[in-house]
Structure formats: C-alpha cells, structure tokens
Assembly symmetry: C2
Homo-oligomer: 311 residues x 2
C-alpha cells in the first residue's frame, strides 16, 4: 500500500493565454504526490529552501502526504521554473530556470521510504534515479520518468537506469528520441527490450498507450474544450497511474489498464486550473464520475459481422 | 441495405520509401466501394476514360460492386494522380494531377442509385455533392467528405452542402480550418450545429472520434509497425463505416460506434500494401479478428475506486 516518489518540489511562475501566476506551488514530486494521494499513502522525497512556506506545506498536509524526507535547506532557495504557453498549449516555453537547492539534490530516503512497495522516480539525473531504485530493495514495481535533456546528454547512463526499473512513463517524442525509431510501436517494443514490464507513452491531447510483452492498451484523452494550464499534467497522470497500482493487491494487466484510466482522469482535472489548484480541491465523486465517462466514450459491443445479404 | 457512393475513380502513381507503382487503380470512389462491399451492396457513381481496362473493372466485379453508373468517356483519359510519401507517411506530396474526364464530371444517377438508403458523397465539388444529395430522396443517412481546397475556396457553398447531409467525415486539420477553431472538440460541436447528426474526425495514427449531440466516442488506430502506403486510408475508413451502417436495420448510437471500429479495421488493412491490393484480397475472418483486437486494446473493467486504507 505504500508509495514513495522522488522528485522536484518547486515554485512555478506561469503565463497562459488565460491568465498568469507569479509564484505557485509546482514540481514533478508535488504534482505526482497530490494526484497519488487520492489512492494511497504517499511519501515524497525532495528538497526545498527556506522560502517554502506554510501555505505550500499545507497542500501536502491536507492530502496526508508524508514530507519527512523533504529536506529543508534554510538558507537556500526552492527550485524555481518560469514558463509561458501560447494558444498551442502543447509546448511550454521556458522563460527562466533557477535550480537553487535542487542543483545539488541528493535524495535521502528514510527506512520507511526505502521500504515502499511501489516507487516512482520523477525526472531527475538518471544516476540519482538508479541510486534510489537500488536502495528500495522491497519494491515490487518501480517506474521512472525522464526528459529529452538526459536522452541527448547521457543516454548510456539513462539506459542503465531503465534496465533496473519495471516501467517507464514518457511522451512520444522522448520514446522516439530514446530509440531513434520514428514508429511509436517499434519504439515501445525497443524500450520493452531493455527488460521492462511496461512502457507507458503519453501523447497529450491524443491520450496514452500502455505496452507490455503480451498486451496493448490505448486510452484516449478526456475531451476537454479548454486546457487552462498543462503544467504538471504528465506527473499528475503518473500519480494517478502509480497511486492506483499501489492501492491494488496484485499488479495484473487489468489493474494496469484501469491505472491508465485513473492517470488520464487525474491529468484531465489538473489542466482545468492553474498549478495544483484543481486537484487540491478534487472530490472522489468527481474522479469516479470521470472514470465512468471514460468507459462510456470507449465502449462498444463486440458483435462479429456476418454478411446476410445476397451479393 | 443499399449504398450509393459518388466519387473519383482514378489511376494513381505512388512512391513511398518502400517501393513504387507507376499506374494502379485508385480514387476515393474506388477505395470506398471496395471497403464497403464487404458489408453491403454498393453502387459506385463516377467517370472513367477509355484507358480504364479489364484489370480495373475486374476489381469492381470481384466485389460485386455495381458500376452501371460509372460513365465511360471512350476518347477521354481517366483521372490521374501522382504522389510521393517520405518516411513521415502523414503527408502526401502531390507530384502531378491530371483531372482529365473528372474535370467536367456530372454525376448521373440511375433510379436504383437515387433510391439508396445510405449515400456517401466522396470529395468532389460541394455543389455537385448537394445536387446528388437532393436527388436521393429516399436516403436515411447521407455522409460527405471534403478537403482543404474547398474549405478555403468556397466555404459558403460547402456549408450549404453540409447543412443537407447527416454526417461529415473529415480529418482534424479540415475540422479546424472549417470552423476557425483550434480545439477539436469545440470545432466538432460547431460543425454539429450546422444540423448534422454525426461528425467523424479522422486523426491518422491517433485514430478517429465520433461526435453526436449526446455522445462522444474515441477509437484508437490499429497499432501498425509499418505503414506501407496511406493512399485511400480515409476513403477506406469511410467505406467500412458507411458499409457497416448500411448493413444494419437501425442507425443507433451503438451501430455508429461499431461502424467507427469497422472503418478503422478496414483502413488498417488498406495501408498494409499499395493501393487496393490488400483490401482486394481481404477475408471476412481477418476483418472479424481485427475487430476483436480493437475490443482487446480498448477494454477495461469499470470498477469505481474506493479508498480502503487509513490516511
């Protein structure tokens, strides 16, 4: 039932066609934890500066996210990212990145964090991801994210890390870049061949796909008429996916499929408001309603065609 | 049970990274008819030149497609299109277009063609589509295709035509262009507001979506590791979609959903070989197997989440 995530806890400044925020809670570890907290007990491992305030801690507390392993550097500043989205909300334009205390981040896991059954390694230096994974000796299912920067600058290290996890959750451009393979299905198979149990490929407004050795599952995106702020959507997806898996006794193909839907459900809420605002205020009834909506929008009866007319 | 299609019957010259063909059977009416012929009796309305030979007619005959309304202009030449695809198989680069007898095409429908219950207006001049639609006074369900050229050059005429059909089947770029609306869900609603019962938006490798007033259905594409030749995929989709509808007594939401799957099934075969080669040789068992594959790759159990752990 336990889930540990290692990743960034940050402040974001965001500008979209629909408004702006100067300094709001963000970071992969944050978005992931918040999303997963609806399904299981979460421990977040990260680092913040002395500027991380009561308002930010309150978000974690409200959702019973364990923050014992979020290190505080009192005289340091929290990781800060500033970005802008144009009407094409698919691409974030980075305006400013201040790594601050995150630059020298060394994850320090308590025994409780190390003992987690389910572990998520958000996007950080691949070698750090590997170190964390190797400390979690009791983990049954470990998933990781990464980004284009690590793929181009340290692919060998990254692949060594991929080889010790069970699942990778990346977007389609990253899957193509990692494998030098334009076809997404061939790319996914090449990544599976590193020894993974599952490869999840996120495709933005087109949904997400799950590849395992024996199965393929295609999940559409929720039909949103407006995306307010896509920041953190991928981590929120991962949080719903891994949180749901952590809530289940066994990790079967059926559980992974439902996890894909819960990930998509959570991501669809995340983009409806700025930063963590929407997920922070989410109710279980809303989650289950949207899960049912996903069923409705993908369901069809399996009736084989029999030609009954004369030719 | 009867289905009439009006559209181009053509010769194509194709070049893809996987090979080339100098002169093969093509055209929207052809691809549509061939695909639909697996589900229902099809009448194809079009025009060809004296160069249209026994080999071409044989394809129609093999699939019992009625060609009484394909006019032959003995001293004219058949519509010819030449195109090239690079490794990005999403975009066709037109090398040559010779309209020939198609330039002055005036569809001439026999009584039998006019009496069809189901009608498809493939991509031709919008005013011609409207004329044909108005001749088919017994039609219960009429769908149309169009293209970017008509949207930019005669949008008003096109909209007049859209207003007299029941369904439009277009790709996402066309839907955006038609409505000046970047969000595909808003675009689909705007098109529905012309008075349509259904809007089908094709999204290439991402599948297709069906919008009606009360329902939304998302259908993924079949996971193909290589696309050999995408020419005619959209018309083959429309053929499977409309052919299946024509085979059913009532046009319910469930029928439309299965029609989306059959359309996707047929399109997935079409791209596996050049031109009409693959669909021409298709067996019913293959169609039904791939239909079952679609069920497998989209199915998940609807189990609402109940948090059973302590926070």
């Amino acid at each position: 039932m336990s889930l540990t995530v290692v990743g960034s806890v940050a402040f974001d400044a965001l500008e979209t066609p629909f408004g702006k925020r100067d300094k709001i809670l963000g970071g992969a570890g944050t978005h992931f934890s918040l999303s997963a907290s609806f399904f299981t007990n979460v421990r977040c491992v990260g680092v913040v500066g002395g500027d991380f305030g009561d308002e930010e801690w309150a978000v974690f507390q409200r959702h019973h996210i364990n923050t014992d392993d979020i290190e505080i550097v009192p005289d340091g500043k929290t990781f800060f990212w500033s970005g802008r989205y144009d009407y094409d909300m698919n691409t974030a334009h980075t305006l400013d990145t201040q790594l601050n205390v995150f630059e020298t981040f060394q994850p320090k896991l308590s025994e409780e964090s190390k003992n987690a059954r389910i572990v998520f390694l958000a996007n950080i230096l691949p070698m750090l991801q590997k170190e964390v994974r190797e400390q979690c000796t009791k983990a049954e299912f470990v998933a990781m994210d990464t980004m284009n920067f690590w793929i181009s600058s340290m692919k060998d290290n990254l692949i060594e890390t991929i080889k010790v996890v069970d699942c990778i959750i990346i977007n389609d451009a990253e899957a193509r870049q990692l494998t030098d393979e334009p076809n997404i299905h061939k790319a996914a198979k090449a990544i599976l061949d590193f020894g993974l149990k599952a490869v999840v490929i996120k495709r933005g407004e087109y949904g997400a796909t799950l590849f395992t050795k024996d199965s393929y599952f295609a999940c559409p995106a929720y039909p949103l008429e407006s995306v307010f702020d896509p920041t953190g959507a991928g981590d929120t997806f991962a949080g719903g996916f891994m949180g749901y898996i952590a809530s289940q006794k066994e990790i079967t193909d059926e559980v992974l499929r439902r996890a894909m839907i819960y990930g998509s459900v959570m991501a669809s809420f995340n983009v409806e408001k700025f930063g963590t605002e929407r997920v922070d205020a989410l109710e279980y009834a809303e989650i289950n309603q949207r899960f049912r909506d996903f069923k409705k929008m993908t369901h069809f009866d399996e009736i084989p065609f029999e030609r009954s007319i004369s030719a």
